[in-house]
Amino acid sequence: MIDRIGRYAVDRVRAAGRFGHFLADLVRAVPDVATWRGPLVVQMRKIGVDSLPVALFIAAFTGVVLALQASYTFTGTVPLYVVGTVVAKTMMLELGPVLTGLALSGRVGASVAAELGTMRVTEQVDALETLAYDPQAYLVLPRVLAGTVMVPLVVALGIAVGILTGWLTSLSLLHLSTPEFVKGLKLLYRFKDTWFGLAKSASFGMTITLIGCRLGLDTWGGAEGVGRSTTRAVVFSAMLILALDAFWAVVLL
């Protein structure tokens, strides 16, 4: 038993060491701008633009539900214009970043891990190295930068769409007027609400892509290995997003 625990602990320390090396290599690749500049644009489109439909779909329905649940909770006790407050605050601080992050951990994390995993098991990563490319500069850095930059933008649009559908729901189903909804929207707004949600989203984007790249490049064992890496990337990213969410709440709120 003690032997197994010891071996597990040594394995974890080794894994942490390897991840440290991975991060150090990533930082070392930053000055190689000529290598990562081209793939960065492609990845910004893949990770950002291509994620918009799923992110906006989630945000749209979240806005509707938030407005209806707030109305259900406040009717008869609190003025209904507070619905605007609840929709905006919840979308900006929590549901916009976290729901989008969880959705993208599936869409982006899985896609990155599967793509790099397939490249690893088919020796394409080795081929890159023999052509004198640094895989960190050519494969990893563009994805991590694109995730860090584009996920907050996707989340920002998601928040806007969530508030929009919350407003439309308030007008059509709750019989609130636009001035009332806007009054609620402004009631407790602080600029921190905006940057907190977006900064958190950037950390989610970085985490999703880092985990996807790391597990993808660590793949072994053919198609089964690619499947294993993909599943682990989604699960680890989702867990880390929830842990980071709590961390930022403790540190910044």
Partner: protein
């Protein structure tokens, strides 16, 4: 000159290379033969630093590969073309983008890249395949594109990892001709890892048999064909143990 010096490598405690020593002279094509899993490809990967040895080293023109820093390794890789077993072409790039990728890295002018890509594809008899994607090519064509990608760099050395595996006899013969033509026209030093004896006899100047992690016998084609070593005989005649 490429020198394998007492090279040792183990995976999960199982030694694959155990004191592998071999010299590959400039201008020759050395064929490394051996049973599946005998460590032929592992030896090849050490030449370009894709694997780090547990002991010993590979010396390329006086440079110990495992001791090279990042810049040294990049410079070394610029002199070596590597043809992978399954070609390892990038699926998302066209054939000409695959062949030109190493040249882009060297920041050559676009016209020179286009010219070298054209020449390389012509040498492998695929002059019109540039705009196609790897998925649209047969296995043999993919391997030829892999060779084109290697020779476009105008390397001093080319390493071929199982170049005829999985090909029909006719396509294998085409690959053999291509390797011979590459050496004759470009004057490169080559290492070919294979267990296809017909290919080994066609392309090799010398043949080394790798067995239990070290060289069992090395010699010219005729020497190997006339070998009295029972392990070598069993392998070249394809007899079950």
């Amino acid at each position: 000159m490429i020198q394998f010096r007492d090279l040792r490598k183990a995976f999960n405690g199982r030694p694959v290379l155990d004191g592998f020593t071999l010299d590959v002279k400039d201008g020759e094509t050395m064929v490394i033969i051996g049973f599946s899993g005998s460590g032929k490809s592992v030896a090849l990967k050490h030449v370009v630093g894709l694997l780090h040895p547990d002991g010993g080293d590979v010396i390329v023109d006086g440079r110990a590969v495992s001791q090279l820093d990042r810049a040294g390794l990049t410079a070394l890789r610029g002199e070596i073309g590597y043809v992978f077993q399954f070609a390892a072409l990038f699926d998302s790039l066209t054939v000409e983008e695959n062949v030109g990728l190493g040249l882009v890295r060297r920041r050559l002018p676009e016209r020179e890249i286009a010219s070298r890509v054209h020449d390389a594809l012509r040498l492998v008899d695929l002059p019109d395949s540039g705009p196609r994607y790897p998925a649209e090519l047969s296995g043999g064509m993919r391997k030829r594109v892999g060779i084109a990608r290697a020779i476009a760099l105008r390397p001093r050395y080319i390493l071929y990892d199982e170049p005829t595996t999985g090909l029909d006899p006719v396509t294998s013969a085409v690959m053999d001709q291509l390797m011979v033509r590459t050496r004759e026209q470009l004057g490169v030093t080559g290492i070919v890892v294979t267990h296809d004896m017909r290919s080994a006899y066609t392309v090799g100047d010398r043949i080394a048999m790798l067995y239990e992690g070290r060289v069992r016998q090395v010699g010219g084609v005729r020497e190997i064909q006339a070998s009295a070593d029972p392990i070598v005989r069993q392998f070249i005649e394809g007899r079950p143990a």
